[in-house]
Symmetry: C2
Subunit: 614 residues, 2 copies
């Protein structure tokens, strides 16, 4: 089955790319654009930058020490998309493999001399994921042969040692290769890599061993910490090992880590990683909007992890977080034309970005860039979007569960269903039976959807967040209607998040909204909003919202810390005006702009959690 994750046990069973076919709509359009534009875009840039040439032996070698992994992520995208460019690119990679299976263009002359920063096992991890994709979507070929030889080399070299890699990913890759091939030592290798971590297995570094989760054994950690992408890739591998080895306690450990992380270290967008320095999670409630790192790849990794936890447990909260991340991090990174990307996804941009010509040396920026010195994010989007249909629905013992409502055709058992919806803009979802059968059809009702209803067989009834379930013997033409209350709502942060005190945000359905101010007009540092009901407008097929705002009147202070009343105030006493909010995932497509998700609350009677005024 063509799915990136195929556990041998668990509450849910994935449906593969063969079973879930997206149709034009929010996600279908993005999946098509990814296949038609983004994959070629990535290949062109990596050819131009010489990262592909490295495999041809072109010298001097170009790109960062981990650039091989970018080609592998792209190969994975190509495999899921059955892209015609795959065989030639795979052949280029194959030619660089050494007789014993070793494959890396950076370290051939000094293999395995730098586990902290060398990224060799990390590169293998992505190579193996590409191979698994190829095996499942196509079958054996040159790429899968390369991958088996690389995996065998890893086991030969590392099964008996105490080493591991500074950057996790090989763990989940090896488990998946075990699942795809049945070769048990791949699973054993993954298990050992995980158990070694934190003994410690790596040297100390400037960021501290927590950076690569080597400060304590994974079983002792209470929350995700350190470099966010590493932490989340590692946790994904841990779930995979726990599931395949039947280690219930280990699975529960990751669930508890996830719970703490969601409650205390996650942005409203689902984004993870508060710090630019070390690209890491911050401490609990350290969630600044402006310096939010919220790397696109951390969003990808969190999405992968949530999917694994969902499959293992069937707990819908994982699908809720996956949806939040999908619409507000993964959909945000690529521009509407699929040719430029956000690396970091902050929730506030204070100064309009300078347009950048060519490659972005940094990860930040208030404009999307076509390419980066470290260009993990575009390739990660490419492979995730290429495999996205496999994440939309799953089978359980009783039937099928649809987790993400988007136009698509879904085949599960005998049933063929057609999902018709304008979601996320509208909350009306129609599931039409194309080919009949029996079984429960469960439709996810997101946590925010209080007041949802389901109707089928002529009966409409209210449903709570969780799953709306419909059972029956289904015949072609039967329909199930799910009506989700997609209306805008004001959201208030936990008072312990210092960076957000006194601010509010607007969400609508699964979407987080933001104020976007082209050329910073009006200046977003000087607005406060009133929490009246937003007015909706449809612009280019997207719902935008108008809220009531008032300007701050900054006091012209030489020093910004004064006795009460001397400084400027957020009271918003000035002439009210209308502030347009756009879906966060659409911001930055209209040129240099400022942006903020969280807006200071004006002096309506309960606007600030910093003060209650009853």
């Amino acid at each position: 089955m063509a799915s990136p994750v195929l556990p041998s046990s668990g509450i849910l069973t994935p449906l593969g790319l063969d079973a879930v076919r997206p149709e034009p709509g929010f996600w279908g359009d993005r999946i098509a654009l990814n296949r038609e534009v983004t994959i070629a875009h990535c290949q062109e840039w990596m050819e131009r930058e010489g990262w592909i040439g490295n495999f041809r032996g072109e010298r001097p070698r170009r790109g960062r020490e981990f650039s091989d992994s970018e080609i592998y992520k792209l190969l994975e995208a190509m495999a899921w998309a059955d892209h015609p460019a795959l065989p030639e690119l795979a052949a280029t990679v194959a030619r660089a493999q050494e007789p014993d299976g070793y494959l890396n263009t950076r370290w051939p002359d000094n293999r395995y001399t730098d586990f902290e920063w060398g990224h060799e096992l990390y590169c293998y991890g992505h190579l193996i994921q590409a191979g698994v994709a190829r095996l499942r979507a196509h079958g054996e070929d040159e790429l899968t042969d390369v991958v088996r030889r690389a995996a065998d080399h890893i086991c030969d070299r590392f099964l008996a040692t105490t080493e591991t890699c500074g950057h996790p990913v090989v763990e989940m890759a090896l488990v998946e290769l075990y699942r795809a091939t049945g070769t048990e030592r791949y699973l054993e290798m993954a298990r050992r890599f995980i158990d070694r971590r934190g003994l410690p297995a790596l040297g100390d570094i400037e960021f501290g061993r927590g950076y690569f989760q080597d400060d304590m054994p994974v079983r002792q950690a209470k929350v995700f910490h350190g470099h966010a992408v590493r932490a989340l890739y590692l946790a994904s591998g841990v779930v995979d090992v726990a599931v395949e080895t039947g280690d219930v306690e280990l699975l529960k450990t990751v669930e508890a880590q996830w719970e703490s992380t969601i409650a205390r270290r996650t942005y409203l967008t689902g984004g993870m990683g508060s710090r630019h320095s070390g690209e890491s999670f911050g401490e609990d409630f350290e969630l600044p909007s402006d310096r939010a790192y919220s790397e696109t790849c951390a969003g990808v990794a969190s999405f992968m992890l949530a999917h694994r936890l969902l499959l293992a447990t069937g707990d819908v909260r994982y699908a809720d977080l996956a949806e939040r991340t999908l619409y507000n991090v993964l959909a945000t990174s690529p521009a509407l034309d699929g040719r430029s990307f956000f690396y970091a996804n902050p929730l506030q941009v204070r100064v309009p970005a300078e347009p950048l010509d060519g490659i972005n040396l940094a990860s930040e920026g208030g404009l999307r860039s076509p390419w980066f010195t470290v260009s993990c994010c575009p390739n990660n989007i490419a492979r995730t979007f290429a495999s996205l249909p496999a994440y939309l629905a799953a089978a359980d013992a009783s039937g099928v569960r649809i987790h993400h409502h988007t136009p698509s055709e879904i085949r599960s058992g005998d049933l063929v269903l057609r999902v018709e919806t304008g979601y996320p803009w509208s909350g009306e979802v129609t599931v039409r039976v194309v080919e009949g059968g029996t079984g429960r059809i469960s439709l996810r009702v997101p946590a925010w959807a209080d007041g949802a209803t389901i109707s089928h067989g002529g009966v409409r009834r209210p449903v709570s967040p969780g799953y709306a379930e419909a059972e029956g013997a289904w015949r072609p033409g039967d329909t199930i209607g799910l009506d989700l209350p997609v209306t805008s709502r004001w959201t208030v942060p936990d008072a312990r998040i210092d960076a957000l005190r006194g601010s509010v945000a607007v969400e609508r359905g699964p979407l987080v909204y933001c104020a976007e101010s082209v050329a910073d007009e009006p200046p977003l540092a000087e607005v406060a909003v009133r929490r009246s009901a937003p007015a909706e407008r449809v612009v280019d097929g997207a719902v935008e919202l108008d809220v009531e705002a008032a300007p701050l009147t900054p006091a012209p202070a030489a020093w910004p810390y004064t006795a009460e009343g001397n400084g400027s105030r957020a009271a918003g006493d000035g002439e009210p005006f209308t502030l347009r909010l756009v879906p966060y995932h659409r911001w930055g497509n209209r040129g240099p702009a400022t942006m903020r998700v969280w807006l200071p609350a004006a002096n309506d009677s309960a606007s600030s959690e910093g003060t209650r005024c009853e």
Copy 2:
């Protein structure tokens, strides 16, 4: 005269170390501890780490590429302190100098091949500052000979090129050497280094050219930006060049940059630099407490810059900022025993630090460290404290101005004055005439000191912030009394500082206060304060303050962003308790603790600038 800055013109003329002698008291004690403990501490660590051995040709070379500069900062400290260890250390350095004057232990085999990161001119800058200190405090010797040869080498090599260094400091060093020796090409070299910057003169880097102020000519910048230490060292050199070349417009440019920086990019402590990433200033009003970098060295650099601007203009606001920085950044870095240091000086620490054994690989940490991989801060404190008396007072055309009130004896013209005070704990300052003469005696009245009085000749009168002036023919035994209202006050941030919305802080005289919670008991993430008058207590000679607090009652939320009322609130409705505040500069001396300067305001009627509730 033994002073680190001796401009040839300006409103004020420095008084050197020979003229200002500190006595036991807040600063006198620290200056003595620095001389007796910290200087030797730094030398021992640099001997142990091999950074001094590099000059003896010991191999492999140890330390970072700029470690030579640390030895030079220490030599400068030794020179001001007339420390007996100087000659031997200077001789060690001298032996590494090459015949043409080149001196650097890192790059002898590939000189000047990396201007972005090589730090060669930066190292010379600190070497020259050490040489100027030696020349002024002692006279010509082996060290000053080394320095002249190095400076001549720089001019020979760089006068006709377009190159400059990624890390400024050589500019102000060369101007000072010109002032000390009269050699005009040192000034010309400094001027050229400054004019080259931003044309650009350096390559692009991950952080962007703004990191080392090479993104635009210095005359075009509107505010300090990029790496804070670099920006402030550069600005200091620019002031020096402007003063010596009579470039009034250039001086005004720096004044305007400083004004914007103070109004929008400076912490309550006077600390500068909001970001760990790039160690840089943030955008306007980007001033998070928890991730405040506020490097000790940026405090040193800001103090040096403010002093230069004060000397050039006589404008007391520069002395106000210098005092704020002195008491809340420079006094904060070293532990009370002078043997460990903060590198970063955040305004909030969320989790008690793990005690660290030995060298700190990073710059962060909620505990002071005895040494760092990059150990600029301890040496920078050492050289600044060693020369501190020269910053306390200055002469003007009419007499003497005392800027920092601390027990000391000050000689200016015929006058010898003795300052007696318990400042900053008390606001009573007595200036006693020891040797008589004529002239105006001006005592600084800080900006916060509304209600101050001056009394002399039997008359007491109110004085406004600025200078309290007393004129007369002074006879031995005459006294001037300055009474500053050193009482605690609540301070509110500008509403545009998102990170501080709804929070308040306490200051008392020049001191910023903070809540320090040993082992985080009570948990500082869960308190709110009421703005009643704090109660004062004297503990170990320092004034601590008790304020009324109430606990937050965190809601046990699985997700921290909810509709109004579901999450935990900062209302502080719980049982009130007393929260102890300590002077910020004293925090962290009682073991691992959490700390915060800005405290969420409880629901008293005007506590939050995020909401007004009249």
